[in-house]
């Protein structure tokens, strides 16, 4: 059992850290304040291959493993969680399902420009009435000649308006079981941004990750070429669930990065901040809080890296991904909350990064499966 990184992963971490410090960190506060998508950073990430890290070279990617990708999201999220989720949604939720379920033509056409960063990807499952309960979805696709006609809407879509390629999950048939209960059968589609009938609704104003472009997608008789069906017809639900297993590892890495970033700030700050004639780091309360947080952060990192390794070596990794996301997200929330407390009044001021980190952390307990869903996945495997 190996716990250390080998030299190439260490060098990759150095690269991501250097890039994050130089390129993402200086814009993090402004991105949060203005809620403007950090296009400049995304363009640079495309140039240096960050938008296709775990993608094979023949499809324009970097040919690295899931662990390298996870470290990228982690290091970016340490300084800017918005930048971290842009890479995560693009890679795990859009590229990964095309790589896993796409035809050779689909991979050539869509994965290549996505992996090189020429195009940005998004994934659309959630609807106003269908969050955790995907069966509540209403968006439908009906085959008409050589095209699927898509109607409905999707909400809370990360990379919403800025993406070029969308994976959209829609109902393609309704069947009845033996007892007469209706079941919605879903299919997955690759949808281009410029598809007529595809438009954008409102931009969400969020608590955290405010620079990430979160939009409602609207489909009104949007005609999708037949060849853009992703995977077999009727298999959209398992495709979406498998995609989310991978996505959860990305979000776990984002949560881990937020927690690490907040802990780093706390270590710096508590050594400098003086109260009662000595640094607050000299107070035992501070020391014990930091010790507990550092222990949890390391435990989260081990779970996240283990999940990344499972994605590389196992066909099914739902439980590993769920455990990593559950623990990393709850750790991010706990660490940022306690770090704000260590900062006292300054922690509540926007000028200090930890205020933003605490707001950013919350979403990691919610999106791509809430913590409650992760508990369902984990316990489901235990009790089956």
């Amino acid at each position: 059992m190996e716990f250390g990184l080998d030299k190439k992963h260490e060098m990759a971490r150095d690269l991501f850290r250097e890039f994050a410090e130089n390129e993402a960190k200086p814009l993090a506060q402004e991105t949060d304040e203005t809620e403007v998508f950090p296009q400049v950073t995304v363009d640079k990430m495309g140039k240096y291959g960050f938008m296709g890290i775990p993608v094979p070279k023949e499809y324009g990617g970097q040919g690295c493993d899931p662990l390298t990708y996870v470290m990228c999201v982690e290091e970016l999220s340490k300084v800017c969680a918005t930048t971290g989720v842009i890479v995560s949604a693009h890679t795990s939720l859009c590229i990964d399902p095309i790589l896993t379920y796409g035809t050779e033509e689909q991979k050539q056409k869509y994965v290549k420009p996505l992996a090189t960063g020429e195009k940005l990807g998004a994934f659309a499952l959630t609807e106003p009435g269908a969050g955790t309960d995907a069966q509540g979805a209403q968006t439908k696709a009906v085959l008409d000649g050589d095209e699927w006609v898509l109607n409905g809407s999707k909400c809370f879509i990360t990379n919403g308006k800025v993406a070029d390629v969308y994976i959209v999950i829609a109902i393609t048939s309704i069947t009845e079981d033996k007892r007469g209960r209706k079941k919605k059968n879903f299919s997955a589609f690759i949808v281009d941004k410029d598809t007529p009938g595809f438009s954008f609704g409102t931009k969400e104003k969020k608590m955290g990750i405010r620079g990430s472009s979160t939009y409602e997608l609207i489909f009104e008789d949007a005609r999708i070429p037949k060849e853009n069906l992703l995977g077999p017809e009727g298999k959209g639900f398992p495709i979406a669930m498998h995609t989310l297993d991978g996505g959860r590892i990305g979000i776990a890495a984002q949560a881990l990065g937020i927690a690490e970033g907040a802990l780093d700030r706390a270590i710096e700050y508590t050594k400098e901040r003086k109260q009662f004639g000595r640094s607050i780091a000299a107070q035992q309360n501070t020391q014990f809080v930091l010790a507990d947080l550092a222990t949890k952060v390391e435990a989260a990192q081990l779970l996240v890296y283990k999940a990344a390794k499972a994605k590389e070596t196992q066909k099914v990794y739902s439980v590993e991904a769920a455990k990593a996301k559950l623990f990393a997200a709850e750790t991010a929330m706990e660490v940022t909350t306690k770090v704000v407390q260590l900062f006292g009044g300054y922690g509540y001021i926007r000028e200090y990064d930890v205020e933003r980190m605490m707001r950013d952390a919350k979403i990691t307990e919610i999106y791509e499966g809430t913590s409650e869903v992760q508990r369902m996945v984990i316990s489901g495997a235990l009790l089956k």
Binding site: K7, K8, M11, A12, L15, E18, F19, Y48, G49, F50, I53, K57, G61, Q62, G63, C64, T68, C72
Partner: protein, 261 residues
Amino acid sequence: MNIVVCIKQVPDTAGGVKFNPDGTLDRASMLAIMNPDDKAGLEAALRIKDANPDTKVTVLTMGLPKADAVLREAMAMGADDAVLVTDRVLGGADTWATSTTIAGALRNLDYDMIITGRQAIDGDTAQVGPQIAEHLGIPVISYAEDIKVEGNTVIVKRQYEDRYHILKAQMPVLVTALSELNEPRYMTPGGIFDAFDKEVTVWGRADLKDVDDSDLGLKGSPTKIAKASDKVPKGAGEKVHLDPTESVAYIMDKFKEKHII
């Protein structure tokens, strides 16, 4: 064309310099990085390669086996090949022995242009690049702020404190680069993975061409370091209140006392 970029692994002085009790540099406690001027030289070579894809960029370093790290970094940025010159007998080399060694290694390689950094942040001598050119009998253009290739010639903007020269030289030529030359690119994740799949060519004393043992390592180094010490902080100085004539006399006496005049 073939470009060889000579790079050096140096301690990162950005976080402060640490010394051992005997006055030598405490390299173990400092992060090791690619010397900034050398990195700019590598970037210049990679830009020539970007514009002329048939260009081959080889990086070469002399150092301990752990200097392998900067060679991998250079390959992860885009260099094609890497050579590590390492041997116990080469240890303790000053600029003369270093340039002799590197020239001995370069004689095994095909090159149209050799790029070195102007100077390394650990020694700050700026001697090794020009000395290599002298050993190899090729022209040198130092302090390059801009490098252009035109056919068989190179056009370099050479920076001085208050002016610059535009120089044109026929290749083969050696150019020493300033860190102001450019903003070096980042590595790419895939480049890193490739760099660790590639072989680094390792050469020892036996691989050096046309060099004499008496010019190598500590024994071949004419520079003898009597003592190295941390910078001593300046004292507060001495204030005197005298009229102008007396002041001049006072200062002149001090200059004489210190053998300045």
